[in-house]
């Protein structure tokens, strides 16, 4: 029983690939299809691309990509087709727009914030204290002499 479980674990990544029946016979075209598919979000299991997902919708979208490739459409046309229906969210690399500005800008903002913090922490050192006045020297000597 245990070996069966281990075998399934080992086979899991292979199962998550495009089903052989859906693959294109031409390896170059299939590679293009997978390149497109890896940039398309699976809307059901949102952290995965459709190439990595076994959801029904992901499988349908993989088929559509392959049909359109065979019909002679290019990468941009296929991406535009999906983008027009599912919006920015379907692209794993969303385009830069007003709505996604914060998304793209966050790393820059975080870097700037860190740099300013660093500047604040490394501000010029405080000047050394002024030399003691004669009165203070005398007071200090008195303190040192007293037991």
């Amino acid at each position: 029983m245990r070996w069966l479980f281990l075998l399934l674990l080992w086979a899991a990544p292979a199962l998550a690939q495009t089903m052989p029946a859906d693959r294109l016979a031409d390896p170059a075209a299939e590679a293009r299809a997978q390149t497109i598919g890896r940039e398309i979000r699976c809307m059901v299991c949102q952290g995965q691309s459709i190439e990595d997902s076994e959801a029904d919708l992901a499988r349908d979208l993989r088929r559509i990509i392959r049909e359109k490739l065979v019909a002679g459409q290019n990468e941009a046309q296929i991406r535009d087709f999906l983008h027009a229906r599912y919006g920015d969210f379907i692209l794993l690399r969303p385009p830069f727009s007003f709505a996604t500005a914060l998304l793209w800008g966050t790393p820059v903002l975080a870097l700037g914030f860190g740099l300013v913090l660093l500047m604040l922490l490394r501000r010029r050192p405080t000047p050394p204290p002024a030399a003691l006045s004669p009165e203070e020297e005398a007071a200090l000597a008195r303190l040192k002499d007293s037991p």
Binding site: M43, L57, R85, Y86, G87, F113, V116, L117
Partner: protein, 187 residues
């Protein structure tokens, strides 16, 4: 660098952090009362005409199928409801669809990736809210609409423009708070 410009430079990141904090506070607030859900995706088709599609009726029942032409030049706004007999949230929204049907609001059903027999049994048991009943077994028309799960409902106005999309079940709250005002507005 003058003293004021130094001060400004120091204030900039603080202002930014404060703005970020306010943003996150609103986001968390929305998450809590349900008005903001990061997992729901706004439809790309809002304000756009219904896509090109044509679907046959569900087998062995009297209602007609559905095509793009049936959604243009309507006497009143209609709902297009993607559903399936295997879909549990579809059971939750079913009574609300029946309410709409009783009030005379046309609900056009698209039966998504389902067997005709199962669909008929579902409606025989719970009642049929639909004025049209199309079968989308391959799920291609759903992709034209940008559907990513059932149930999903679209409000189409009299000119065939998509005015509202609701992913997930139409609960009584959604019906009263979201849908009814829109039905009045586009009547």
């Amino acid at each position: 660098m003058s003293k004021t410009s130094r001060r400004l430079l120091l204030a900039a990141p603080l202002g930014l952090a404060a703005a970020g904090g306010v943003g996150f506070w609103y986001m968390l607030d929305g998450l809590q009362d349900g008005s903001y859900d990061p997992r729901t995706v706004p439809s790309a088709l809002l304000g756009r005409p219904v896509p090109e599609f044509s679907l046959p009726p569900v087998d062995e029942q009297p209602l007609a199928g559905l095509a793009r032409a049936d959604l243009l030049n309507l006497p009143r706004p209609v709902l297009v409801n993607f559903w399936a007999s295997w879909c549990v949230p579809c059971i939750i929204e079913h009574p609300q669809l029946m309410t709409l049907q009783r009030e005379g609001i046309p609900v056009f059903g698209v039966n998504y990736k389902d067997k005709a027999g199962d669909a008929r049994a579902f409606l025989a048991r719970r009642g049929n809210p639909y004025a049209r009943l199309a079968a989308d077994e391959p799920g291609r028309a759903a992709i034209e609409f940008g559907v990513y799960g059932v149930p999903e409902t679209y409000l189409v106005d009299r000119q065939g423009i998509i005015r509202w999309r609701w992913p997930g079940p139409i609960t009584t709250e959604v019906l009263e708070q979201d849908l009814r005002p829109l039905l009045r507005r586009f009547a």
